[in-house]
Symmetry: none
Subunit: 234 residues, 2 copies
């Protein structure tokens, strides 16, 4: 049995931290979530972590000082969440020393991809036991590869747009379970928008089904659960 990575997320914007927690748990990671630096530091001492996601600006400490303490006593990758680019001037220098940076607002899949890249880079050079990673979702003739962003159905390559890929990824990683359209929206679009634009999701589903030679009535892959959402069977 392979290990699932332990990931720390620290952000005083609770909405963001909560959201990130959902994404990560969706990918089967064990998540340690905190809204301030003090609790986070405590966690760093007592838990065996594999990666940390830190907001740069915290009420009681900045992400940089936490990053330093991680570097001193431990050795695992750190990803910094930085504010949007206009505000970056104020924190120049603070982000030094992190392994990667993600600017808010971000798309969940982007963050997931970075997390996986860092974990892989780290384990590669530390030759510890590899984590349970799913860069690849494969079942019944459908293959999704997060590394190459390629999708294969019945050995034929489908060229999906980023949003389409993202939707299919979420549905697949939750296969066997109905994903509500609102949940789906947040998983794909992140905190970028707040209006759950249902129609947009539907149009993308339509495009997906078209590319998969699927149809709304009598669907083979993406099934509509009326009044609830969409699902892909196991």
């Amino acid at each position: 049995m392979l290990l699932a990575a332990n990931i720390l997320i620290v952000d005083d914007e609770q909405a963001i931290a909560d959201l990130v927690e959902v994404y990560l748990e969706n990918e089967n990671y064990k998540v340690f979530k905190f809204y301030n630096g003090k609790d986070a530091l405590n966690c760093i001492e007592n838990e065996k972590l594999d990666l940390a996601i830190l907001d740069v600006m915290l009420p009681d400490a900045d992400g940089f000082s936490i990053c330093q303490q991680i570097r001193e006593k431990h050795n695992f990758p750190v990803i910094m969440l930085t504010a949007r680019e206009e505000e970056i001037d104020k924190i120049t220098g603070l982000t030094l020393g992190a392994d990667d940076y993600v600017t808010k607002p971000f798309r969940p899949l982007e963050l997931i991809a970075r997390v996986k890249a860092q974990l892989r880079r780290f384990t590669k050079y530390n030759s510890s036991e590899p984590f349970q990673e799913e860069h690849l979702i494969a079942f019944s003739s459908l293959v999704l590869d997060l590394d190459t962003h390629e999708c294969t159905l019945n050995e034929k390559k489908l060229s999906l747009t980023p949003t389409e890929f993202s939707i299919l990824w979420v549905l697949c990683s939750n296969r066997g379970r109905v994903v509500g359209s609102e949940e789906l929206f947040h998983e794909v679009w992140g905190d970028k928008y707040f209006t759950n634009n249902n129609n947009t999701v539907m149009v993308h589903i339509r495009h997906l089904r078209e590319k998969m030679h699927d149809s709304a009535d009598n669907p083979k892959y993406i099934k509509t659960v009326w009044g609830v959402g969409y699902k892909i069977d196991k």
Copy 2:
């Protein structure tokens, strides 16, 4: 199994020292890191080192005096980290005796390249067991040599500029995976800038493709993954 080299890094700017540590460890080197001269000197006496990276300006000693002590009792390469070029005049002379110099801010890849070059040069003439190095990427008619910065495609030499080489190196060492343009930017330009100047990357990609007789539509080598980044297939 080949040996991994022991490398000393000394810099009172902890952020810099930490950063260098991360990059070196990613290359499988064993790192001894210190923020002051005193601890560093202690390390030099007690550890069997293979290379030292010294900041010129330290609170309790300058890199030069440390370098002197290394030269007196030991015999391994020394790389000096010097401040930005405007300030170099003030410390001219201090850097004498080192094997190489790197000015801050520096690109991570550049430092790694210098480290490898020095280790190579040194072991060559001391013919002990060679270090484990990866200075060459070779696959399907494309060869990249980090030491000489030479690139060969189909047995024909391409004359790449430093930036072009750097970009191609990053893409190749991540081949089979999409590298986001922001990630690419940070890998190549380092933490020097925070503005992800996407356009600059694109122009270099364009030049690269031109020299490789590649095109944006129907590309053979560098492929664009829309909304995500660039990749080179495995």
